[in-house]
Each structure stands twice: as structure tokens, then as C-alpha cells.
Amino acid sequence: MDNLVIAGKTYTSRLLVGTGKYKDFNETRAAVETSGAEIITVAIRRTNIGQNANEPNLLEVLPPSQYTLLPNTAGCYTLDDAVRTLRLARELLDGHSLVKLEVLGDPKTLYPNMVETLKAAEILIKEDFQVMVYTSDDPIIAKQLEDMGCVAVMPLASLIGSGMGILNPWNLQIIIDNAKIPVLVDAGVGTASDATIAMELGCDGVLMNTAIAAAQNPILMASAMRKAVEAGREAYLAGRMAKKLYSASPSSPTEGIIAQTEKITKRSASNKPR
């Protein structure tokens, strides 16, 4: 079986999805179920004090018994906020230690601050967290994160929520070639072909949220993404044919063609590869 293994745990799906930006919990659940994702990200936020005491809870809709919840540090701009958020997450999820670290550097672009991310990763790893880390697509930083003990590196394909797709496949390729831990594209996927391209490059998985949640029909897009990730993975494993401008090698046999007019036969003979 071709499985995804992260921190020693095996997953059959290589698509990881976020749970934000959906219209309601029913849509969240339907999209997650349709995507086939086993790992789903959640955010940690202040509870509304004194209001909505009876409002439904995300964990009732997507129970930890059924999914691997991946608490994130989305919205954190300092290592201190990120580390505190994940300590709270571990307490909230009964000691669950697999987390997604992201430390942002700029509210306009949501580009990661890698200096703070590296420091936060070091602290979290010392505290026995299993850190999947959101990173810029810098191959050197990605390798440093691996060397310090992160369990997966998750480079951006383009900016969070942008839907701009895979903007620098060459950097991703270098990160993938260098890594001994899973590499997952996180952020920037806009449509199914983007996910397929990421997987064809050799990514171990893709994490997305907005591409599904902001589609006109999120459930149908969840289905498309499931297939896109599977298709890309299979194509990667199959090994694509070499690219060449032209080959003069038709797919059908060149022998046994019925009698042709002299003119055409002559022409095709002169076109034969040398």
C-alpha cells in the first residue's frame, strides 16, 4: 500500500483539509467527508464568554475519535503566541502532540516569518510536540527545520488564501529532493490541477482550505481535490514519459497500413526519422 506516514502514523489519504470559511458546520462536515481527508486542521480561539453557551462545537461535528486533528497557530505573529496556542491545544485535545506551526510575518500577505518559526519549532520540539511546519519555499530553511526534528515540512505553493497555484515548482522540487521527512504543499492551491501538479512533483501530500471552502460548490470541489491528489500521486509513482518537442513515433503501428496512393507513401517515406 502507498501510504502517507507522518511521525510514525499511517494515513491512506494524502489530502489534508482545513475547516475554516465554511457557511456552517453541516457544510464543513460534508466537505471534509467528501474530501476523504483523515487529518484536518483546527484553530484555537477564545471562547465567547457569556454568549452562545449552547452553540454547537466543532469537535462534536468532527470528533477526534474519527479524525486526526491538527491544531494550528494561524494568526500568530510571534513565537510566544504560537507556542502558547499549541500548549493550549495539547491540553484541549488531551495530550495530542501533532501540531501545525505557522508564525506569520505580515497581515497583508500572510507570508511566514521564518526567523520566529525556527525559534518556535525548537521550543516545541523540546516540549515533545510533533511539529508539522508551514514554511517559505526556501530549500535551506526547509532542511534546517527537518534537521531540528520537525516531522513534516509544508512549503507554500503561493500565498495563503490566494489560489494562485504552484508558482515556484523548482524550489518545491529541490525541497522534495533534499527531504527525508514528508513534504506537503500548504497554501496557494486554487483548483484541482494545482493539487495534481504538486503531487506530480513528488510532494507527499497537500493541505488546503480556501480552495474547497471558497469554491462555488465546496462539496463538489472537495470531491475534485480528492481525485486530483490521487491522480497526481499515481502519475508521480507511474513516472511520466520524457518531454520532447516532437518524436515522429506514432502510437499506432507503422507497418501494415493499407495500400496508399503513391504521392502520400513517398511523402511519409521522406519523413521517416533518420
Binding site: T19, A43, I44, R46, I49
Partner: protein, 67 residues
């Protein structure tokens, strides 16, 4: 009278209370929550032992949808 800051909001209490009593007061006893006091996690197992004191800064969090 003690004052606690809960998720950034000041609240007054007549007398010192423990974390469990605060959770009941906020009607969060059935909720899956985590609490931090002055930057340190309070494990759920210690809710009834930990007494809150004047000036404590508390963060009470839940899991919500996010990417």
C-alpha cells in the same frame, strides 16, 4: 472582591474562587475547553485545586474551524 481578566474582559467576583467554580460560573462545564493563567496552562485535573487570585489573566479557548 477580586478582579480577573478573562479573555481580555475584566470581571469581578465577591470572593476568591477556584478554576472549577469559574468554569461553572461561565457555563462552560460541558464544553471542551483549555485554560491558561498568566501564560501557564492549568491542567483540567487541577481545576478544583487551583485558586484564582486578584489580577489573574485567564485565556479560555476552544477549537474552531481554521486552515
Amino acid at each position: 472582591m477580586i478582579q480577573l481578566t478573562i479573555n481580555g474582559q475584566p470581571q469581578q467576583f465577591e470572593s476568591p474562587i477556584n478554576v472549577m467554580q469559574l468554569v461553572d460560573h461561565l457555563a462552560l462545564h460541558n464544553k471542551r475547553i483549555a485554560i491558561e493563567r498568566n501564560g501557564e496552562i492549568i491542567p483540567r485535573s487541577q481545576f478544583s485545586e487551583q485558586l484564582l487570585v486578584h489580577g489573574d489573566q485567564l485565556e479560555v479557548v476552544v477549537a474552531v474551524g481554521g486552515g
